[in-house]
């Protein structure tokens, strides 16, 4: 002991005892004030916290009582939404008095609000262990379980969506298809290719009647199907029905007269990451930040083929499968394949073939 720190006389001892007693009663008074202020309502919460803080600073109370101070302060912090502080206060309270059930409750509540679900559960369980009949803790535990289940369910959905999209990207990569920016989004919406259980791709395909820029969709064009089969079906619905296509007054668009073209080569090939992002749009995983393919993709922004402005029209042989056409090296698929329909019999045909017509932007 240092020289001079030991009380020398009885008077000094008595004085120190008096000071200690004073501090103790101050602390108790502050605690009462704090409690009263909390009862008074929201506007007084901050003041209540100050009271409790000052009471703690007196350092005049035993562990059990100090624990109550901390746990009371935690309570007000919870009410104010200061969840982090509520947690540290509760933790202090528990440390000072492991029998303080309210402290466990408040710790659990704070953790729940901070989305620390495992910790919340753990505090609940510690509390229930000490007080098995505590209904509030049990109720809180159920709440936490529910939130956990919801979170796990959401995470599972996100994982699933991500995995499916990655499988799709992989299938596209295996087939060496080139994908570019989506065109005609107002028509295609959120349509996407789909992988069936045999690993075969099914594409939604947009048909544009170039002459009038009217459109049609083949919702499910399996990559192993031939164009002729789908054109047969469309012609039954549109060309041979009565009335025929409303804008085709002279009936130029018949099964034998139509030809299909795609636009070759101009545009940018998208990287795997960009394709993955497109495929995730509208799914549970749409907002996932890191999707794992962060390495610099070779094809990112890679301009390909024809110089800008000159579109080249390539005729589609009806007797080929969709896959065979999509994998043509000069075909950059605008996310959803687009084919232009023209009629040999229409006057428009000549303009189209000679490159005089370009799709309106």
């Amino acid at each position: 002991m240092e020289a001079g720190s030991e009380p020398k006389t009885e008077t000094e001892i008595a004085d120190l005892q008096a000071i200690a007693a004073l501090k103790e009663s101050t602390a108790l008074e502050l605690k009462e004030n704090g409690n009263e202020l909390v009862k008074k309502g929201k506007k007084h919460y901050q003041e209540a916290i100050d009271c409790y803080s000052r009471a703690i600073d007196q350092k005049a109370l035993n562990d059990q009582d100090t624990s109550v101070l901390y746990s009371n302060r935690a309570h007000v912090n919870l009410l104010l939404g200061n969840f982090r502080r509520a947690l540290t206060d509760s933790q202090h309270a528990i440390k000072l008095s492991p029998a303080n059930i309210k402290a466990y409750y408040r710790a659990a509540k704070a953790c729940l609000s901070l989305n620390l679900l495992s910790e919340a559960k753990s505090y609940c369980e510690s509390g229930i262990e000490k007080d098995p009949s505590n209904e509030e803790l049990k109720k809180l535990a159920k709440q936490i379980d529910l939130k956990k289940m919801e979170q796990e369910h959401r995470e599972a959905q996100v994982s699933k969506a991500l995995a499916e999209a990655k499988e799709l990207v992989s299938a596209i990569e295996d087939r060496r298809l080139k994908l570019g920016n989506a065109m005609y989004r107002e028509l295609t919406g959120l349509r996407k290719p789909v992988l069936d259980k045999n690993g075969i791709l099914h594409w939604p395909v947009l048909l544009l009647y170039a002459e009038v820029m009217s459109s049609d969709f083949i919702e499910d064009f399996c990559e192993t199907d031939m164009f002729s089969a789908h054109l047969d079906i469309i012609s039954v619905y549109h060309f041979e029905s009565c009335p025929p296509l409303p804008w085709d007054e002279k009936n130029h668009y018949s099964r034998e007269a139509i030809e299909l073209y795609y636009e070759a080569g101009s545009g940018i090939c998208l990287s795997k990451t960009k394709i993955l992002r497109y495929l995730l749009e509208g799914t549970a995983a749409a907002n996932v930040e890191s999707i794992g393919e962060e390495e610099k993709d070779a094809a990112d922004g890679y301009p390909h083929g024809n110089s800008a402005g000159s579109s080249k029209w390539v005729k589609v042989n009806e007797k080929r499968t969709l896959h065979d056409v999509l994998k043509e090296p000069n075909f950059i698929i605008p996310m959803i394949p687009v084919f232009y329909v023209v009629s040999k019999r229409s006057a428009f045909y000549k303009d189209f073939i000679t490159g005089k017509w370009t799709p309106p932007v």
């Binding site: 299938a171 295996d174 087939r175 069936d196 259980k197 045999n198 690993g199 075969i200 791709l201 459109s215 049609d216 969709f217 083949i218 919702e219 499910d220 064009f221 399996c222 990559e223 192993t224 199907d225 031939m226 002729s228 089969a229 789908h230 079906i233 469309i234 619905y237 549109h238 042989n317 007797k319 080929r320 499968t321 896959h323 065979d324």
Partner: protein
Amino acid sequence: MATELEELIDFLTAPSPPVKKAAVDIVRGLTGSEDGLHSLSNYANTVLSSLSRLLSDEKEVSEPAAEALVNLSQNAGLAAKMVEMGMIKIAMDLLYKPGSSITRLLVMLLVNLTQLDDGISSLLQIGDDKMQGLYVMKLVRSFCRSNETNDDPFDHVGSILVNISKKEEGRKMLLDPKRGLLKQIIRQFDSSSPLRKKGVSGTIRNCCFEAENQLQNLLLISEFLWPALLLPVAGNKIYSEQDTSKMPLELGSALSIDREPVKDPEIRVQALEAIYLIALQEAGRRALWSVNGPRILQVGYEDEEDPKVMEAYEQIGSLLVHGNETEEPSTNSSK
């Protein structure tokens, strides 16, 4: 006191060329008989390693040595020993040596060695990350590059491919779209060599056992696959315009003209088995319908007389009848 046989085997590694030549000729003769094989197998390790060393000598020695090894490799135990001592690598290294006169024999040796699981693994180079598949790629390239000469030394590669496709790793490698091996192999189906045709047919059929897991790797080369599978079982008649209009171009035009029937019933059975395996899968049936496959099978069945082949047709027939409801390609068209 060494026996005559032991002396003979010793002479295989003699420094004097005429002695070596005499010895290897005799050993080759021995391998042509059951008794000779049996006696030699008592000294398997020595004989095999000596013979394999002789493979790199000039042709008077290397040819009989190779013949001897081919004969010995027909015995499973000896073949296993050869694989163990790295005979596959030795053969592959020598196969592409310029001026090699034992190419055909080495290929036949590989055919025998790949009858064994270990032989297949060794040829596929499983476990060697960098080199995996290199041997197979080389063999396929040689197989596909040959001229239409009779007696092409690589004719037997077809049989090697049939062997390796018996193993899942082999099928996976052949079906891998990045390697494009199956696509190259299928094209050889048009060859006039019956040996080649059979090799291709057997390989395709084996690969179709992967239809359950890798259907896309089969269907995405359907441009080449369907002609190879359907033409042999399309019968002899010329098809009508109505039928061929529903088929892809190559298939349709091939069936619109007179053609040579495929005489070997085993090839026809293999083609049908392959089609059956594909048709077990929903997408496979769909693809078959989309090329008017069932019609082809129907017409082909009418001309068929071989009972085994007929049975194979019938098997597919009942599968297609009892398969899914919606077999025709379906489309939703909406404005």
